[in-house]
Amino acid sequence: HHFSPDIRKVVQILEQNAREILTVLQSVHQPSGFKEIPSKCARARELFCTVRTQLADLKTKFPVEQYYRFHEHWRFVLQRLAFLSAFVVYLESETLVTREEVAQILGIEVVREKGFHLDVEDYLAGVLIMASELSRLAVNSVTAGDYSRPLRISNFINELDSGFRLLNLKNDPLRKRYDGLKYDVKKIEEVVYDLSIRGLAKEPESGVDK
C-alpha cells in the first residue's frame, strides 16, 4: 500500500490554506493594517475551520500508529500552521499560545497516543517562526507610529529567549532555527534603543522594574 500520494494531496491543500491565512495576517505590517488587527484575527480564525477539516481528512490517509513514518510529509506545513496560530493569539492577546491551544485551533491532539498530534518540536519551530515575524512587526509598528508595541514585543521575545535557553537541543533543524532567534532579539533591541534615545518610548503598562 502506498499512502504517500494521498497524504501529499491533502498536504498540498493545507499548504494553500496556510498561505491564505498568512496573506490575511501579513497585512498587519502595513500602517493601515494596525487598526484592523481584531478583524484580521477573526478572519484568520474562520480560515482555520478549513484547516481543521483538512487535518481531519489527513488523519484518515494512513495508519494512526505510523505518524512518524510519514511525519516528514506534513512537518513543514504543520510548523507553518503552528506559527500562524501563535501569531493570531499574539495579535489578540499578546501572550504565548500554548501547545494545547494550537492543537485546539488545528483540531488535533497534543499527546501522541491519542491520535494525530502536534509534536513539541513542531510547536517550538512555529514559535520561532513567529519570533521572526514579531521582530518585523516591531520595526513596522514604529513606521506606523505605534511606539509602545515594540517595547511589549521586546519583553515578550526576551522571555521567549530565556525559555529557549533552558532547552538542551541537538544539532538538528530546530537548533538551527533557534540560532536565528538571537538575530530577532537583536533587531528588536535596536528598535527599542532607537526609540528610547529619541525619547519616543514610554514604559509599557505592564512595566519592567529597572
Partner: protein
C-alpha cells in the same frame, strides 16, 4: 521602509545593559519559563532514549559484523559445524540486544526512533541471512527473521491492575524488522556472498561459485523488479549488487572456460586480477 531604520552602529548602551534588562524581564516564575521547563524535560527524555538506542544498535552492529567474519571461515576449515554453532551463539546474544531495543520501543512510535537502530538491524539481517544461506542454500524470509525476535519478559506488578489475558508475570515483546531494513540487509549480504565466492575458489571449491551465481542472480532479479519503487537506499544498493553479481558471473565464466588449465592454487589470483581489471559497467546483466 521604516522611518527610523534600526541602527546597530554607535550604540553606547552595549550588550551588558541589554542582557541585564533581558534577564530582568525573565521572571523565573513566569508561565513561559515554567512551560519551557516542561519542554526541556520532554526533549531530554526523547533524546536520552534515542541515545540509548544508538548505543545498543552499535553493539548489534559490532557483534553482527564479527559473526559475518566468523562465517567466512567456513570455506577454509574442515569442520564447518563448529563455526556454525558458534555463530548461533553469537547471534543469540545479538537477539538479546535487539530485545533491549524492543523494550525501549515499547509504547513508542518506532519510526520516531528508527534512524537510531536501522544500521544495527540491517547488519543483523545480513549476518542471520548469511548463516541461513550457508546452512540451507536459500534466502531466509522476513517472517522467519521476525519469528525469532520474540522475547519473554517477566512483568513487574502492574500498579494499574490491567486486565490483560496474559498470565501474571509474563509479557511477550516483539521486534519487527521492517521490509525496508530487510531488503537493505539482504543487499549487503550479496557483497559477502560475492567475497565467499572468490575465496571458495581459492580453496579449490569449484561448486560453490556456480551455486552462488544462481542465488545472487535471483536476488538481483528481485531487486531489479523493485527498481526505483522502493526506498532510496535500496536503489543505491542495487548498483553495488550489480557489481557483485558481475564479479561472481565472471568468476564462473573463468572457471568454465579456463578452470582446467590453471593450477588450483593460482585460481584465486586469476579471479582477483580479472575482476579488479574489469570495468564495473561491463559484464552487467
Amino acid at each position: 521602509q521604516p522611518f527610523l531604520p534600526p541602527s546597530g552602529e554607535g550604540c553606547p548602551r552595549k550588550n551588558a545593559d541589554a542582557v541585564q534588562d533581558r534577564d530582568a524581564s525573565a521572571n523565573p516564575s513566569s508561565p513561559i519559563i515554567a512551560v519551557f521547563k516542561v519542554f526541556q524535560q520532554e526533549l531530554d527524555t526523547k533524546h536520552d532514549k534515542y541515545e540509548r538506542l544508538v548505543k545498543i544498535s552499535r553493539d548489534v552492529t559490532i557483534e553482527s559484523k564479527r559473526t559475518i567474519f566468523l562465517l567466512h571461515r567456513v570455506t577454509s576449515v574442515p569442520n564447518a559445524e563448529d563455526i556454525l554453532n558458534e555463530a548461533d551463539v553469537k547471534l543469540d546474544a545479538v537477539r538479546q540486544k535487539i530485545g533491549l531495543i524492543a523494550e525501549e520501543l515499547r509504547g513508542e512510535d518506532i519510526y520516531q526512533f528508527h534512524r537510531a537502530f536501522t544500521a544495527g538491524i540491517q547488519e543483523y539481517v545480513e549476518a542471520v541471512s548469511f548463516l541461513h544461506y550457508i546452512r540451507h542454500r536459500s534466502l531466509i524470509s522476513l517472517e522467519e527473521i521476525n519469528a525469532r525476535l520474540v522475547f519473554m519478559r517477566t512483568e513487574k506488578v502492574d500498579p494499574k491492575g490491567s486486565d490483560e489475558a496474559l498470565p501474571l508475570g509474563a509479557q511477550v515483546l516483539t521486534f519487527h524488522v521492517t521490509p525496508s531494513d530487510y531488503l537493505l540487509g539482504v543487499a549487503d549480504l550479496t557483497g559477502e556472498l560475492m567475497r565467499m565466492c572468490i575465496s571458495s575458489v581459492g580453496n579449490g571449491d569449484i561448486d560453490t561459485p556456480f551455486q552462488l551465481s544462481q542465488f545472487l542472480r535471483q536476488i538481483h532479479d528481485g531487486f531489479s523488479y523493485i527498481g526505483n519503487t522502493g526506498p532510496y537506499e535500496v536503489s543505491k544498493k542495487l548498483h553495488t549488487l550489480r557489481q557483485s553479481l558481475g564479479k561472481v558471473e565472471d568468476a564462473c565464466y573463468a572457471l568454465r572456460v579456463r578452470g582446467s588449465e590453471i593450477p588450483k592454487h593460482m585460481l584465486a589470483d586469476v579471479f582477483s586480477s580479472r575482476t579488479t581489471l574489469l570495468d564495473p559497467e561491463e559484464g552487467v546483466v
